[in-house]
Structures are given as C-alpha cells and as structure tokens.
C-alpha cells in the first residue's frame, strides 16, 4: 500500500531524513516512533505530498507522489500535528468545505457527513463554531476532516497529544476501529500508545530508521536472557546457592528488598517450575515469582541512545 524507497530530505545543510526505506501493507496500523525532531513529521509531510523529497521515491496505492500527486492526494487522509481548522466556521460548514475540496459530489457528501459525524461523536457540536470548542473536540474535528472522503490511507501526526486521558482512550478506540478497512500510519513519542494500537513500529532517530518490527518482537530482540523476580517469606541463607544450581539458571543475585532475588535464566529454558519446587521444598514460603518484561521504553532508550557523534 505504501512503499518508500531511499528517501532523503535536506533542509539546507541539515539532513532531516537520511535514506529511509520501508513498506506498509494494506490494513496495517503502523506507528512512527522517535524523539522530537527525529523526522517523523517530515516523513509524513512527504507521504502526503505536502513537500517533495530531495531524493528517493514514495508510492501510495501504486501512485508515485511526484508523478501523480493528484491520485495520491485522493487516497490519503491527513491529520497534521496541529489540526487544520478554520476557527470561524461551524463544524458542519467546515466539514462541507473539506469534502468539497476533497472532490466529493453532493450525494456522497450527504452520506459521508452523516457517517463521519456519528463516528467521531460530533453530532452534539456540529452547529457550533470551531473556535469555541475544547481541545478534544477540535482533535475530533481534525480526525473527521481526515476521514471525510473515506481514504484508504490515513496519516495521523501525533493524534493524541494534548488530550486528557479519557479523550486519549476515545481517540485510540476510534483509530483501532478503523483498522482493517484503512491503512493507518501514526506518529507518536508515547511508547505505550504504539504498543496499544499498532501492529508494527518504525523507530526513527536522527533521520534514520533504527528498527522496524512488531512491539513484541522489538522487546524480545533486545533481551538475551529472561529475568525472574522471586520473593520469599523466610530468610534462608542457603537459598541463593541452591537456586543457582537449577539447570537453565545463569545467575542469581539479591534483589533490592530483603528476601528478594533476581534470577537470570537462559532464553527458551523455563525454569519457573523447578524454582517453585525448590522454594516450596525448602519451606521458604513462596510469595511471588514473576517475569520481568522488557517494555518498549527500554527498547526505545537503547535504540535511540546511539554513541554516534553528531554529524
């Protein structure tokens, strides 16, 4: 659906994007992840045809962004970082204007308006002037604007920034409900968001792609070993020694609290059963045995903390 090949974007002497290539299949939800200034917005602007790349090719739904911008624009719904709203218009007037410049005829306009207003929960405020709406509603109007012509590709630049937790959940649910029928790219610097809604994460750092994978795989890739946390009730001086003799256990150390242990085991060797048996047999009183999951936060930190000097 989306195919990006060797795209570079230069702003004067600054290389905002450096030889980026990736492709996204139909119906996928993909997150662009990266610190501020990594090149997320630039990538999105190039995808939408707002600005051309310095070099490289971008194809959306089979159309080249430079050669057939008209077709590309028809296939894309775009929500920029700041929702592009005319504050003096009412929600309805605004959406009518947008659907007209997106090329909908009168019949389609009527149908789509109704669907979109319901889908984005704007029915109550459709007669109100956009300038008087709250931030959450404005974001929804922005989303409605991107959806109005039912584009197969949706590009959302930080769709949940500045919203309160309830609004964030609402917008995320809305985005999730669009999956399958739409191919969605969204950018975010919130890792939890990427994990919550996306099947694939593209991590961008300093204009380069440092990783493309599913959130789970990214986590798995990063750890060479499985970490377990163990808490027992009784103080047992010989326990540490005994634990390290269990097959598969590589290293045992005392945890931050008394009577807690951090156990490192080999990947693929599930030692939990043996561990439980040992603790119970020794009468130490098993309180907790849990696996430490590597969060996307950790992955992100490792991948974006490059020791490369500034270019």
């Amino acid at each position: 659906m989306i195919n990006v090949q060797h795209v570079t974007k230069q702003y004067g002497p600054v290389k905002a994007l450096d030889d980026i290539s990736f492709s996204i299949h139909k119906g996928e939800i993909v997150a662009f992840l990266g610190p501020n200034g990594a090149g997320k917005t630039t990538t999105m602007r190039i995808l939408t045809g707002f600005m051309p790349p310095t070099s490289g090719t971008v194809k959306i739904a089979g159309f080249d962004c430079l050669e057939e911008p008209w077709e590309v624009k028809k296939h894309i719904g775009y929500l920029p970082e700041t929702p592009p709203l005319y504050l003096e218009l009412t929600v309805k007037e605004y959406l009518i204007f947008v659907s007209r410049i997106k090329g909908l005829d009168q019949d389609q306009l009527q149908k789509r308006m109704e669907i979109i207003i319901n889908q984005t929960g704007l029915a109550e405020v459709q007669g109100r002037v956009i300038g008087h709406l709250s931030r959450g509603y404005r974001q929804r109007v922005g989303l409605a604007q991107a959806l109005i012509h039912n584009p197969p590709v949706l590009i959302l630049d930080e769709p949940t920034t500045g919203l309160d937790p309830n609004q964030i959940i609402e917008i995320r649910d809305l985005i999730k409900s669009l999956a399958g029928s739409h191919t969605i790219i969204l950018s975010t610097h919130l890792l939890a968001e990427a994990t919550a809604i996306c099947q694939k994460v593209i991590i961008i750092h300093r204009g380069q792609i440092v990783a493309i994978d599913s959130p789970e795989h990214l986590g798995a890739k990063l750890r060479q070993s499985e970490m377990l946390n163990l808490t027992v009730k009784q103080t047992d001086p010989g326990l540490l020694e005994a634990l390290s003799k269990i097959p598969g256990v590589m290293h045992v150390s005392n945890g931050p609290e008394p009577n807690t242990y951090v156990i490192e085991t080999q990947i693929g060797e599930d030692a939990r059963e043996e561990l439980t048996k040992l603790v119970v047999n020794r009468g130490a009183g098993l309180l907790e045995l849990s696996t430490q999951t590597v969060s996307l936060e950790d992955v992100f930190k490792v991948l974006t903390k490059t020791d490369k000097p500034d270019a």
Partner: protein, 256 residues
C-alpha cells in the same frame, strides 16, 4: 461546485464573520462620503461666487470639480485599506496550519490562488458599488457627463484589483499578517512613487518606462474619461503577474 467556487464561498464566509471587513468598509464609506460632501459643498460655493460675479447662471463642469478629485482621493484611501483586506488570505492559512489541508487536497495551487483573489475582489467590488450612491444622489440635483463616471469606476475597480493582487502575493510570503500588510503597502507605495520619479526623468526612455510601470498615469487617463487599450493592458498584465508571483511563492514554500 467547482473547486474555485468552493474556495470563494469559504473565503466570503470567513470575510463576513470577521469584524475586519465591517470596520474597513465603514471607514472607507465614511471617509469617501465626507470627501464627497466636501467636494460638493466646494463646488456649490464656487457656483454661487461665479453667479454673483457674472450675474449669470454658471455652467460648471462637475466631472472636473467633484468626481475627478474624489476618485483621486479614493485611490489614496484604497492604498491604505486594501492591504488590510488581503493580509490574512495566505498568512493566516500558514499560521493556523490549514495550508497543509489545502495543499494535501486534490485541488490545484492555481485554483486556491484564483479563488482567494476573486473572493477579495468581490468584497471590494461590493464596497465600491456602495459609493455609487454619490453620483446617483447627485444626479437628482445636477447634470453631468456619465461617461467619465463609468470609466472612473472601471479605473477604481482595476486599480483596486491590482492592489489586491499585490496584497495576495505579499500574504503568500509570510505567516505574519502585519508583515504581509506592510509589504503590500510598501509595494503599492513604490508603484505610486515611481510616477513622481518618472517626471524627473522627463521625456527620456527611462522616464517613460517608469511612468508606464506606475499606475498614476493609467489611472489618471481613465478617470479623465479616456478609454485606452494600453491602460487596460497595464492593469490586466499587472494582476496576472502578481497572481503568478503568488503561485510561485506558494510553490517555493512547499519545496524549500
């Protein structure tokens, strides 16, 4: 609706919900009305004096005494107020990021520029048409030649359209409305001053080029009642040039 009509409809809506148009319109009409009153009062004074002097019914040329100076003054007022009408056209779109919506929609830059230009010309034409009450009212009490009045309005329309096209271009250059207004004011002022400079060069080639570039000579000929293809061509080519420049400015904004 064609894309251009869609843009025009949206722009007109935006113009009339903002107070700017009403304030500018009110000031324009009030000043023009006062100037017209002053010109008429002045003319009737002179008529009285002539009657006392010659003891006959004086035949004054009202076109020369009232309308020509009035049109000249209106031109000066337009130089100040029209930049205020065009300043937001593109600057606001850039500032509010709505430009991203327009430029990522299947609609051409030429359609956006045309729609914006036509909408502001319509607003101006509406304002201008209100001042036609002055000759209409006056025609009930005096006789004058209508031909120079028609041409005077044509001149004001073209002159205004040229200034609006300059303002449109200036607005496409920046996201700051104040800068856009001063920029267009500066260009318009420059074109006006060119006329004055040209007289210093006299009848040389440079002088006639400068005189041609300034709108003064073209405007003066039209309000005197002389219709000349050369003058119409000046305005049309000037507007076309500014339209093209605005188009280029927007392309440059995307490509940089």
């Amino acid at each position: 609706m064609t894309p251009v009509q869609t843009i025009i409809a949206k722009e007109l809506r935006s113009f009339f919900v903002s107070p700017v148009v009403y304030v500018i319109g009110a000031i324009f009409l009030a000043v023009v009305g006062l100037l017209a009153y002053q010109a008429v009062a002045n003319a009737s004074n002179q008529a009285l004096r002539l009657m006392q002097l010659q003891n006959t019914y004086a035949q004054l040329n009202l076109n020369e005494m009232i309308f020509r100076p009035l049109f000249q003054s209106m031109n000066l007022i337009l130089m100040i107020i029209l930049p205020l009408l065009t300043m937001r056209l593109f600057a606001e779109e850039r500032k509010l990021r709505t430009f991203e919506l327009l430029l990522t929609s299947p609609i051409g830059v030429n359609e956006i520029v045309s729609g914006k230009f036509l909408s502001v010309v319509m607003v101006y034409a509406g304002l201008l048409s209100l001042t036609s009450l002055i000759p209409i009212t006056l025609s009930a009490y005096a006789t004058f030649d209508w031909q120079p009045i028609y041409l005077g309005y044509l001149a004001l329309l073209l002159q205004g359209a040229l200034m609006l096209a300059i303002g449109l271009f200036a607005s496409a250059l920046t996201e700051n409305q104040i800068i856009a207004a001063f920029l267009s004011f500066g260009v318009i002022l420059g074109l006006w001053v060119l006329g004055a400079i040209s007289t210093a060069f006299g009848d040389t080639t440079a002088g006639s080029i400068l005189a041609y570039l300034s709108f003064t000579e073209h405007f003066e000929r039209l309000i005197r009642g002389l219709l000349n293809v050369k003058d119409l061509l000046y305005y049309i080519s000037g507007i076309a040039f500014m339209w093209f420049a605005a188009h280029q400015a927007i392309d440059a904004y995307r490509w940089k």
